[in-house]
C-alpha cells in the first residue's frame, strides 16, 4: 500500500517526505565525537545516523608494497540500528557496504600510504575505518562514506615511544589525507532518478548506482546494486548527478559546518 503510494507520487516527481528528486535530507555533521579514537565523525542524513571511528595499529605491509600503510574498512550492522539487522554473521550486504566505502577512499588514493611506513618491508601503520550505523533509514553508503572521509581528515597518528610501543596520549601528525572522495548513490525506479533514498524508498527502487568522485572531477569507483537494469543513458545521467551532488557534499566536508536543509514536513519516528 505504502509502496504504491510512494510510486504514485514519484510519477508526479514528488516524494513522500516532500523532497525534490535530487534533494538530500537534512545533513548534520559532528567531528570527533569519540575523543579517545584516533579520528571519528558522526553523520546524520535525515534519520540515518552513522558513527565512524578510526584506529591506527602496527601491521605488516603487503609484499608487493613494502613501504605502504594498509587501509581496512569494516561495517558493523549492529541490531541496535534496525529491526532487520541481526546478530552474528557479517552477511553479504554489510560486506558490500564496507567494500564500496573502502574503494571510494582507496581508488582515489586519498591516503598517502607511503607516509605510513615505519620500517620498510616489516612494519607499517594499519588504518582501520569502522562504520557503525546507529539508526538506519536508507542511504547508508553515502552517509558512511561521508563520515569516513571526515573521520580520516580528523585523524592524528599516534607517536611511538622509546620502547617501540604505540603512545596514543601523544598524537602528533595528522593522517596524510590528500583528496576528498564523495560517494553519491542514485536510485532508479521506473524512469525516475532519485538521490538519498529513505529505507522505504530503497524498498521500491529497481536498482541503485553508487558513484564516488573526487574534487578533481574524477570518477574513482562505481557499484551497481539491485536487480534492475540500467541503460547507457541512465549511467551517463547518474554519473553527472554524482559529480554535481558530490560538489555539494564536499563543501560540507570542507566548511566543516552542519548543513541544515529546510525541514520538510516529513517522516519522524515510525513508532506511531
Amino acid at each position: 500500500m505504502r509502496s504504491e503510494f510512494i510510486l504514485k507520487l514519484l510519477e508526479k516527481n514528488e516524494r513522500i517526505d516532500g523532497r525534490k528528486l535530487d534533494e538530500f535530507r537534512e545533513i548534520i555533521i559532528e567531528k570527533r565525537p569519540i575523543e579517545r579514537a584516533e579520528g571519528s565523525a558522526r553523520v546524520k542524513i535525515g534519520d540515518t545516523d552513522v558513527i565512524v571511528g578510526i584506529k591506527m595499529e602496527f601491521g605488516e605491509p603487503y609484499p608487493d608494497a613494502p613501504n605502504s600503510g594498509v587501509l581496512m574498512t569494516g561495517a558493523e550492522f549492529i541490531p541496535l540500528a534496525h529491526p532487520d539487522f541481526e546478530l552474528g554473521k557479517p552477511g553479504e550486504i554489510p560486506t558490500e557496504v564496507a567494500r564500496v566505502i573502502d574503494r571510494g577512499i582507496r581508488e582515489s588514493e586519498t591516503i598517502d600510504v607511503e607516509k605510513l611506513c615505519i620500517e620498510e618491508g616489516k612494519k607499517v601503520w594499519n588504518v582501520f575505518v569502522d562504520v557503525y550505523p546507529i539508526n538506519y533509514d536508507g542511504n547508508l553508503i553515502d552517509a558512511g562514506s561521508l563520515a569516513s572521509i571526515i573521520a580520516l581528515k580528523s585523524t592524528n597518528i599516534p607517536t611511538i615511544d622509546k620502547d617501540g610501543n604505540i603512545d596514543r596520549e601523544n598524537l602528533k601528525n595528522s593522517l596524510p589525507v590528500v583528496h576528498t572522495p564523495i560517494t553519491i548513490t542514485i536510485g532508479k525506479v521506473m524512469d525516475k532518478m532519485i538521490i538519498d533514498p529513505t529505507f522505504e524508498e530503497e524498498e521500491i527502487l529497481d536498482c541503485k548506482l553508487c558513484v564516488a568522485t573526487t574534487e578533481e572531477g574524477k570518477v574513482v569507483s562505481i557499484q551497481k546494486i539491485g536487480v534492475g537494469v540500467l541503460t547507457d543513458d541512465d549511467v551517463d545521467q547518474m554519473i553527472d548527478i554524482a559529480i554535481e551532488k558530490g560538489k555539494e557534499l564536499r563543501k560540507l566536508v570542507e566548511d566543516g559546518k552542519k548543513i541544515v536543509k529546510p525541514k520538510t514536513k516529513a517522516n519522524k519516528s515510525r513508532k506511531g
Binding site: 569519540i34 582501520f128 538506519y136 515510525r270
Partner: protein, 237 residues
C-alpha cells in the same frame, strides 16, 4: 589487578580531581534511535553507552519461545574504536559474560509472565570506554526499557564501587579500573534497595567489601534522580 607506584589519590582527590564519593559528569538522553521501541544514550565522563530496546516482540526461532513467559535477550557490544587498541568485531568472552549478568540485572524489574512467547531485545553499543562500561550500559538499558513503555517495578540503577589506596570510591574511570585494589559493579532497584547485579574483582577485607556495597547503594540514588529527569524531559518536550 595491576599494581602501580603512582599515587592514585592525592590530598583526598582522585586522578581526575574528584572526591572519593563523587560521580563523573553524567549525561542522559532518551529516544535517540527512531527505529527502536525505546532507546537511550548515557555517558559517565568519557564512557558512552547507547541502548536500544526492540519488543516485546515474537521470538524466533519458535523453539526458543517459552509458553509461560517472555524472555530478555541482552547484547553488550563494544565498538572497535571504543578502546585504545582496536577491538576485533564480534563477541569476546568478556562481552558474553557481561551480556548474561546484565540480562539478569534487568529481569527482576520486568513482568515477563505478561508477555508469553515474546522477547524483549536489549542491544548495547559502547562507543567510548573509560571504565564502568557495564553499569553505564545498564543505566541506558533501564531508560530504554522505560522509553519503550515496558512495564517495570522500578528503574534499574548501575554504579561501580571500588577501593583505591585504601579509600572507598565510586564510578571508576578506566585508569582507576586498571590499578584499583577492587572493582565492584552493582545494579539495583533504587526504590526497593534490591541488588540485581553484583560482581567483584580485587582483594579486600569483608568489612571493606560490605562498606563499599552500602556506599554504592547510597550514592546510586543520585543516578536514579537523573534517570527520572531524563525520562520526564523527553515526555515534556
Amino acid at each position: 589487578m595491576m599494581k602501580t607506584n603512582e599515587k592514585m589519590i592525592i590530598n583526598g582527590k582522585r586522578l581526575d580531581g574528584r572526591k572519593p564519593d563523587e560521580l563523573r559528569e553524567i549525561k542522559m538522553e532518551v529516544g535517540v534511535i527512531p527505529n527502536a521501541n525505546g532507546s537511550a544514550r548515557v555517558s559517565f565522563g568519557k564512557t558512552i553507552a547507547i541502548a536500544a530496546v526492540y519488543g516485546p516482540r515474537k521470538l524466533f526461532p519458535r523453539h526458543k519461545q517459552e509458553s509461560e513467559t517472555g524472555i530478555v535477550q541482552y547484547n553488550y557490544d563494544m565498538a572497535t574504536f571504543s578502546v585504545d587498541e582496536r577491538k576485533r568485531p564480534g563477541p569476546s568472552r568478556r562481552e558474553i559474560e557481561i551480556s548474561k549478568v546484565s540480562r539478569l540485572a534487568l529481569e527482576p524489574t520486568l513482568f515477563l509472565k505478561n508477555f508469553p512467547k515474546t522477547t524483549i531485545d536489549v542491544f548495547i553499543e559502547i562507543i567510548q570506554a573509560d571504565g564502568s562500561t557495564r553499569v553505564t550500559a545498564i543505566n541506558a538499558a533501564s531508560l530504554a526499557l522505560a522509553d519503550a513503555g515496558v512495564p517495570m517495578r522500578d528503574l534499574v540503577v548501575g554504579l561501580s564501587g571500588g577501593m583505591i589506596d585504601g579509600v572507598p570510591i565510586v564510578d571508576l574511570c578506566g585508569k582507576e579500573d586498571n590499578y584499583c585494589d577492587a572493582d565492584i559493579p552493582i545494579a539495583f532497584l533504587p526504590n526497593k534497595n534490591e541488588i540485581t547485579l553484583l560482581q567483584m574483582d580485587g582483594r579486600l577485607t569483608p568489612k571493606e567489601t560490605k562498606a563499599i556495597v552500602r556506599n554504592v547503594l547510597h550514592v546510586g540514588k543520585e543516578i536514579y534522580k537523573k534517570q527520572v529527569e531524563a525520562l520526564k524531559k523527553k515526555y515534556s518536550e
